[in-house]
Amino acid sequence: MRFLLIEDNDNLARAAVDRLSLDGHVVDHAGSLSEAQDFAATTDYDLILLDIMLPDGDGRSFLKAHRERRAETPVIVTTARSEVSDRVSVLDLGADDYITKPFDFSELEARCRAVLRRRGGAASNLKQLGDVEFDSLSGTLRIGDNSIRLRNRELRLFEVFASSPDQIFSKAKLLDRLFSYDEEATENAIEVYVGRLRRHLQGSRAAIVTVRGLGYRLTVT
């Protein structure tokens, strides 16, 4: 996906750009409102991440202008202020959602997915893996005429595999992607979810294979 990140704190912005690109996203960073307006005018983004406190003005004015332009790009506001402290909710000003800093990037991803789903989604979310069509937005696997709706964790796990077929992912790494840091999860849990995905993929040319001692990988024959 292509993101526009509007954030005045350079350290945080750099880290966020790095972090989002790890998941294969393309991110442009704007440090001020004027910069953001230039970016938004010239490039089509899938999603805009907007900080509310900016050096040259309030992010809310960007939001207002954005909505007045009838721009379709969804906006998720990132704020360090508590939800209780703002008398006018950013949602009332036309934001699609907001997330409080510091945030878990899987939460951000979940919110992005929810927002994009509400907005009707784009075709670019479809990925073909052999005879399996994977829609990461709606979380469905289509194999022939058969369509399977994945649960959230199955979806996120499959997304990891589908992002780079044939790459081996260790159980520990998969655990980090699937569970939040305060959940006590064992590697057995990964086996459960892999088992479910294998059942879903039965009869297709895609399969998750165990690489003994190393982990799993997705193969397409």
Binding site: N9, N11, L12, A15, A16, D18, R19, L22, M53, A80, R81, S82, E83, V84, S85, D86, R87, S89, D97, T100, K101, P102, F103, D104, F105, S106, E107, A110, R111, R113, A114, R151, N152, R153, A172, K173, D176, S180, Y181, D182, E183, E184
Partner: protein, 456 residues
């Protein structure tokens, strides 16, 4: 609101002073009228007695070597003008009693003299007057003594005294009424000012502009200055809380993001474990900071509650939609059932924050792939928001005490939390005249937390 310590009352002081003055005046009036009346009565009796005595003395004459006294009709008609008084008389010459009552003894002394004394068992006024009768052999002093009862006179005096008492009482009563009115009118502006300040909403810190009497202008001026300062300090504390959140959270966000990146890149298991610990600690501190500041803001806003009508059904759906992505991450199904569509009066953001905290707990402590049910009901004037999960439930001791600050259940080890979620929810419910109740599900595992708000 706490009552100010009270010392004295302007109204009472005014009343006491006015009534005290009136009382003194009334008593003085009574005493003066009474003594004047007595004085006047005595003077008029004395005048009559003097006139009667001299009339009698005028008739004294020497005839055929003996003293003759006529009792003149005029003298007795004068004496009877005072009413039915009885009169006794005695005329003495140096040789002894000439005529009259033997036992009526003249008053000692010279000239015309008066006395009040008991005579024949009654209180009487006496006069003794002397005339020198010119005779050939020299002047002969003749003394006339008159005694008159005082019955009718003292009745008249008593009447006058009673009238004086009535006059005094009437005076006192009318002054009392006037004093009451005066006290009320002078207190009036103070009461009106109090009322207009009390009628204000908590956020209404505009200066008082209604005209007040000159004496109260300094007070109102001081009040206005105070409200100005209060407004500024309220704004400051609100901004401070929001700013503090910003200052704490932005660097934490950077650290957290960097930690996530590191975790992706690090291969060695023990290094990964420490990075995971780091992220957990960051989450813990950012959550604690966030909840602390939220709690401060909730306290601040409940102190300055600006109620609006809240559609709880819509609020419920909005809040659940906001949290659905979080629940999705753990494959928890959030289900909303609106059995009724009650409204309540309150601060929307606060009520939302209460529900969010309860829901947040439900999601956090639920098993993955389970359900959390949010049910909105209306029962006996209350709107009940019930959040039921199938998680670990409250510890064996029950939910008692878990709404206290920083109190966490004994069974939540391993789950990041600040111990302020239920505190915030309960404080919001209380501030709105509602309450929070929590118990474990009767059937099956999990907890059920209910937020009640009065229906509007």
């Amino acid at each position: 609101m706490s009552a100010a310590p009270v010392q004295g009352s302007i109204r009472r002081r005014l009343l006491v002073q006015l009534l005290g003055g009136a009382m003194l005046l009334a008593v003085a009036l009574f005493i003066i009228v009474q003594s004047l009346a007595r004085q006047l009565a005595q003077d008029s009796q004395d005048n009559i007695l003097t006139a009667a005595a001299s009339a009698m003395l005028d008739t004294v004459a020497m005839q055929d070597g003996a003293l003759q006294v006529d009792l003149p009709y005029a003298a007795f008609s004068m004496l009877s003008s005072l009413g039915n008084e009885r009169v006794f008389y005695a005329v003495h010459a140096p040789s002894g009693l000439v005529t009259g009552y033997q036992d009526l003894v003249p008053i000692a002394g010279t000239g015309t003299r008066f006395d009040t004394r008991a005579f024949r068992g009654e209180d009487m006024r006496l006069i003794t007057a002397t005339r020198m009768l010119a005779l050939e052999q020299g002047p002969l002093p003749v003394t006339v003594t008159l005694a008159q009862t005082r019955d009718g006179l003292s009745r008249t005096v008593d009447q006058i005294v009673a009238m004086a008492a009535a006059l005094g009482t009437g005076f006192f009563l009318s002054v009392a009424v006037l004093a009451g009115l005066a006290a009320r009118t002078s207190i009036g502006p103070i009461l009106r000012l109090t009322e207009s300040v009390e009628r204000r909403g908590p956020q209404d810190l505009r200066p008082v502009t209604a005209p007040v009497p000159a004496e109260m202008a300094p007070l109102v001026g001081a009040l206005n200055t105070f409200m100005d300062r209060l407004k500024i300090s309220l704004q400051r504390s609100e901004e401070f809380i929001a700013d503090a959140a910003h200052r704490v959270r932005t660097p934490l966000a950077t650290v957290r993001t960097q930690a996530e990146i590191t975790l992706r890149r690090v291969e060695k298991e023990e290094n990964r474990a420490s990075v995971r610990e780091m992220i957990r600690a960051i989450d813990e501190s950012s959550r604690a900071a966030g909840q602390l500041l939220d709690h401060a803001m909730v306290t601040f806003r409940t102190d300055h509650l600006e109620p609006e009508t809240i559609d709880l059904g819509a609020l419920c759906e909005d809040t659940v939609e906001r949290l659905r992505p979080m629940a999705d991450l753990r494959d928890i199904d959030l289900r909303v059932t609106l059995c009724a569509r009650p409204t309540t009066s309150g601060d929307r953001i606060l009520v939302q924050s209460a529900l969010r905290n309860v829901l947040d707990n439900a999601i956090k402590y639920s098993q993955p792939e389970s359900e959390v049910d949010v049910t909105l009901r209306a029962r006996s004037g209350m709107a009940a928001l019930e959040v039921r999960d199938r998680g670990i439930g409250f510890p064996a001791g029950g939910p008692e005490g878990l709404t206290g600050r920083f109190v966490r259940g004994a069974n939540v080890e391993g789950v990041v939390g600040s111990g302020l979620g239920l505190t915030i929810a309960e404080e919001v419910a209380r501030a709105h005249g509602g309450h929070l109740s929590a118990q474990n599900n009767e059937e099956g595992p999990g907890a059920c937390v209910t937020l009640c708000f009065p229906s509007a």
